[in-house]
Amino acid sequence: MKLKKNNLILISLILLLVYFIQLKILTLFNFSPNFFLASLIVFVFFASNYLEILFLAFFSSFLINWKPHLSIEIMLFFLIPQLIYFILKFFKLENWLTLLICLISANLLFYAVVNYHFFANYLNYIIYDILISTLWGILVYLIFKEEKLL
């Protein structure tokens, strides 16, 4: 379940693709589940060392940098992969249930920190977002695990 050598490029390209898909869905429907965050969390599960996590954190922060100014989202995207990595290392848990918990709690953390008003006014949107992005995350996890793509 660990990354093979030189697969960081493949992961980076997949993340880039997922980011563009998310942007396109957002443009079309004015709302899109957080596929990018879900994919990033899944790839943390496949990383073998801290340097790879650091690279993914930097790369995702670089991708989502939509304005030339530091934002809370960038900091979260930088910190969340590292936090999950250390939790996984500490508790020695790397199964689909842990992934499920990580996906849900990361999404909830984002909504709580970035815009908690959603909880009051658009709770159903949060539920849809978490549900769809979690399913996406599990799907990506299963594809990469079963097909041994990484």
Binding site: L26, N34, I64, F110, N121
Partner: protein, 221 residues
């Protein structure tokens, strides 16, 4: 025969060594746009760019209010907020809470509200759109009393007094102390009764597609 080839080779060398003839020949073979051709091409490109910019800016012309026109750089990439980045900032005199509008195509001399300025930096600003869940604005529906517009993925109007007679299609416009009066927001799409309440709620239909907006006008305060 070899002498002929050698002779042709020498001519070619001579042609390419001579700066002028060589350059012209090279340009011919490589289709290089240098000198006049290149400057014409460059000028053509610049004019094309200016025309396309003018096409975007044309609807903003001949309006009475004092405003600055800016281009949209990028859009917030997630669901958590709905913000746009515009190329006008502090040095252009932009201030927080200024109204951000687009021209109305149906009624000349009037603007449609897109959002308001949230953060101002030196060279750019962020716009909080009506689709942001933190966006709130006092509005008026046709001739009725004031109500509150609440932003979000589906912007809606709340706190509409039940005694007010409002209909589907009624125009909603701004009546907030922080923005100019009468900026068009949209039309009433669906009216909903809230149980055990003295107020109505209504869904609002906005007359634009946010993803199609390339330029906005920022009204000066």
């Amino acid at each position: 025969m070899k002498k002929v080839y050698f002779f042709i080779f020498l001519i070619l060398i001579a042609v390419f060594l001579n700066s002028k003839i060589g350059w012209e020949a090279k340009r011919y073979f490589l289709k290089d746009f240098s000198k006049d051709d290149f400057s014409l091409e460059k000028e053509n490109l610049i004019l094309k760019a200016q025309i396309s910019q003018f096409e975007i800016l044309k609807p903003f012309l001949n309006k009475n209010l004092d405003y600055k026109v800016g281009f949209i750089y990028s859009r917030y990439p997630f669901n958590f907020k709905n913000e746009l980045l515009v190329n006008l900032g502090e040095k252009d005199g932009i201030q927080p809470d200024s109204a951000v509008v687009i021209p109305s195509s149906s009624t000349p001399q009037s603007f449609i509200l897109v959002g308001k300025i949230k953060d101002v930096y030196e060279n750019f600003s962020t716009i909080q759109t009506l689709f942001d869940s933190n966006f709130k604005l006092t509005v008026q529906i046709a001739n009725s009393e004031e109500a509150l517009l609440v932003g979000g993925p589906l912007p809606k109007i709340i706190l509409i007094p039940i005694k007010n007679k409002i209909n589907t299609g009624d125009v909603v416009f701004s009546k907030d102390s922080t923005l100019p009066y009468g900026l068009i927001i949209g039309g009433i799409k669906k009216i909903q009764n809230v149980s055990n309440s003295l107020f109505l709620e209504a869904e609002i239909e906005l007359p634009y597609d946010l993803s199609q907006i390339n330029a906005v006008a920022i009204l000066k305060k």
